[in-house]
C-alpha cells in the first residue's frame, strides 16, 4: 500500500498549464475547466519529440563546435575563433576565472544536456526504477541551467557591435555562432518536451 498516491490511482489529472487538479473523465480531448488547455496524463508523443529535437540539436552541435564562431581582425591580423579557442584565449590572456565560467556555459552544459537527456530517454524506454530521485534531480538541473549556454552567442553579438573600425580592427560573426545558438534552443525545446513524470512510471518496489 503506497502512502503516496499518484494521480492515476485517484482518477485525477493535473493540468500541464495551470496546475489544476481535474477529475479524469476518460474522455479523449478533454479540456481543463479552468484554463481550457487539453488534458492528458502524459504529454502525447513526448519521447519521440524529445528524441527528434535532441538528435537535431546534436547534428547542429557538430558544426557549432568545429566552425569558427567569431573573426577578430586587429591591425590586419585575422584570427578565427571557435568556441574552444575562445575559452583558451580568455584563459591565457584575460582572466582564468571568467574562462571557467565560459567553458562551463558553452562546453560543459551542452555536453551534460546531451548525456543527461539520452540517459533519461533510455532509462524511460526500459522502464527501470534505477536511481529515480537522482534522475529527477538531473532533469531539473538541466532544465534550470540550459539557457545559460546562450552566453557565447551574446558575447559574439556584443563584440561585433562594439568593435567596428573598418580595416583597422573588426569583429565579425561567423556561421558557427548561428549553429550554436540553434543548438541551445533545440536542447531547451528537447528538455521541455520531455515529460519527467515518465521517470516515475514504473512499479514501486521500494515502498
Amino acid at each position: 500500500m503506497s502512502a503516496l498516491p499518484r494521480a492515476h490511482e485517484l482518477g485525477v489529472i493535473g493540468c500541464h498549464v495551470c496546475g489544476l487538479v481535474c477529475r479524469d473523465t476518460g474522455v479523449q480531448g478533454a479540456a481543463c475547466p479552468r484554463c481550457g488547455s487539453a488534458l492528458h496524463r502524459r504529454m502525447p508523443g513526448s519521447r519521440a519529440r524529445t528524441w527528434a529535437l535532441l538528435i537535431a540539436a546534436f547534428i547542429l552541435y557538430i558544426p557549432a563546435n568545429f566552425l569558427p564562431i567569431m573573426r577578430t581582425v586587429s591591425l590586419g591580423d585575422v584570427d578565427d575563433n571557435t568556441i574552444l579557442t575562445g575559452v583558451v584565449e580568455l584563459w591565457v590572456k584575460g582572466s582564468p576565472d571568467l574562462a571557467i565560467i565560459v567553458f562551463t556555459a558553452s562546453i560543459v552544459v551542452p555536453m551534460m544536456k546531451f548525456l543527461v537527456m539520452v540517459t533519461l530517454l533510455l532509462s524511460v524506454h526500459r522502464g527501470t526504477n534505477w536511481a529515480r530521485t537522482q534522475r529527477a534531480k538531473l532533469y531539473r538541473l538541466v532544465e534550470f541551467i540550459g539557457y545559460w549556454s546562450m552566453l557565447d552567442v551574446f558575447v559574439v553579438s556584443l563584440l561585433t557591435a562594439l568593435v567596428q573600425f573598418g580595416f583597422f580592427s573588426e569583429v565579425e560573426p561567423l556561421p558557427g555562432v548561428v549553429y550554436f545558438g540553434l543548438t541551445v534552443i533545440l536542447t531547451m525545446l528537447a528538455a521541455m518536451s520531455f515529460d519527467q513524470r515518465m521517470i516515475w512510471d514504473c512499479k514501486d518496489e521500494d515502498d
Binding site: R6, G14, V17, C35, E89, G94, Q164, L182
Partner: protein, 215 residues
C-alpha cells in the same frame, strides 16, 4: 460555451483547492496553507510543490512597474562604450541586434531580439495587465487566455545570461581596446536582480488569488 465551462469550474474549485499534484512525478497531496518561509516538497521526488508566496498582489504590481522602468533604461542607455583615438562607439541592445542582422547572422539577431526584448516585454506587459485588474480583485479581460500565453513564454527570457555576456565581452575587448561599462550595463545588472526576485513568484497563484467575478 463559456457558461457551462464556468459552472464546471465552480464544482471543480471545491475539489481542487484541497488537492495538489506534483508536476514532476504526479503524486497527489492534500494542500496545506503555508506560513512565511515554508516550502512544501514532494516526498517522492523531492521537488518543490509550493512555496509560501509572501508578496501581495500590490507588491507584485509595484515590482513589475520597477522592472519596466529598469527595462527601458537597460534598452535605451548604451551598454558598453569603446573609445579609440577620441572616437567613441556605444553598443545598445538594438544596435547589437541590427548589427548581427546586417552581418549574415539573422538567426542570432532574431534570437537576441526574442529572448532579450520581445519575450521579456510581453511577459511584463501581461503580468502588469493581469495585476492591474487583479489588485482590485477583478480578472482582467482575456485573463484565461493570457495566463496560458504567460505559461508558454515564461522560460524564454534570457536577460540574466546577457548580463554575464556583458561582463565577458568587457574582459575580452579589454585585451585590445579601452572599453568601459556604461549606464546600460548597470541597468541590466539591476534588471537581472529584479528578474531573479520575480522568478521566485509562482504566477499560477493568480488563478487562486484573483477570483472569478460571479456573473
Amino acid at each position: 460555451m463559456s457558461q457551462p465551462l464556468t459552472s464546471t469550474e465552480h464544482t471543480q474549485k471545491a475539489f481542487t483547492s484541497t488537492l495538489q499534484i506534483c508536476e514532476h512525478c504526479d503524486t497527489v497531496y492534500r494542500r496545506r496553507a503555508l506560513v512565511r518561509g515554508e516550502v512544501a516538497r514532494c516526498q517522492r521526488c523531492g521537488a518543490v510543490l509550493e512555496r509560501h508566496q509572501r508578496l501581495s498582489l500590490d507588491t507584485m504590481f509595484a515590482l513589475v512597474l520597477t522592472v519596466m522602468v529598469v527595462f527601458v533604461q537597460a534598452n535605451v542607455w548604451p551598454i558598453i562604450t569603446l573609445g579609440l583615438n577620441g572616437t567613441q562607439i556605444h553598443a545598445t541592445l538594438w544596435g547589437i541586434i541590427i548589427m548581427m542582422w546586417e552581418r549574415q547572422s539573422q538567426v542570432v539577431a532574431a534570437l537576441a531580439a526574442a529572448t532579450l526584448f520581445f519575450f521579456p516585454l510581453l511577459k511584463m506587459a501581461l503580468v502588469g495587465w493581469l495585476l492591474a485588474y487583479g489588485r482590485r480583485g477583478r480578472r482582467a479581460p482575456g485573463f484565461t487566455r493570457l495566463m496560458v500565453v504567460l505559461h508558454y513564454i515564461a522560460p524564454w527570457t534570457m536577460s540574466e545570461v546577457f548580463v554575464l555576456g556583458i561582463l565577458v565581452s568587457i574582459v575580452k575587448a579589454q585585451l585590445y581596446f579601452d572599453v568601459t561599462a556604461d549606464a546600460g550595463a548597470f541597468a541590466y545588472a539591476a534588471l537581472a536582480v529584479l528578474i531573479t526576485i520575480f522568478s521566485g513568484i509562482d504566477l499560477r497563484q493568480l488563478w487562486d488569488k484573483i477570483p472569478e467575478s460571479t456573473p
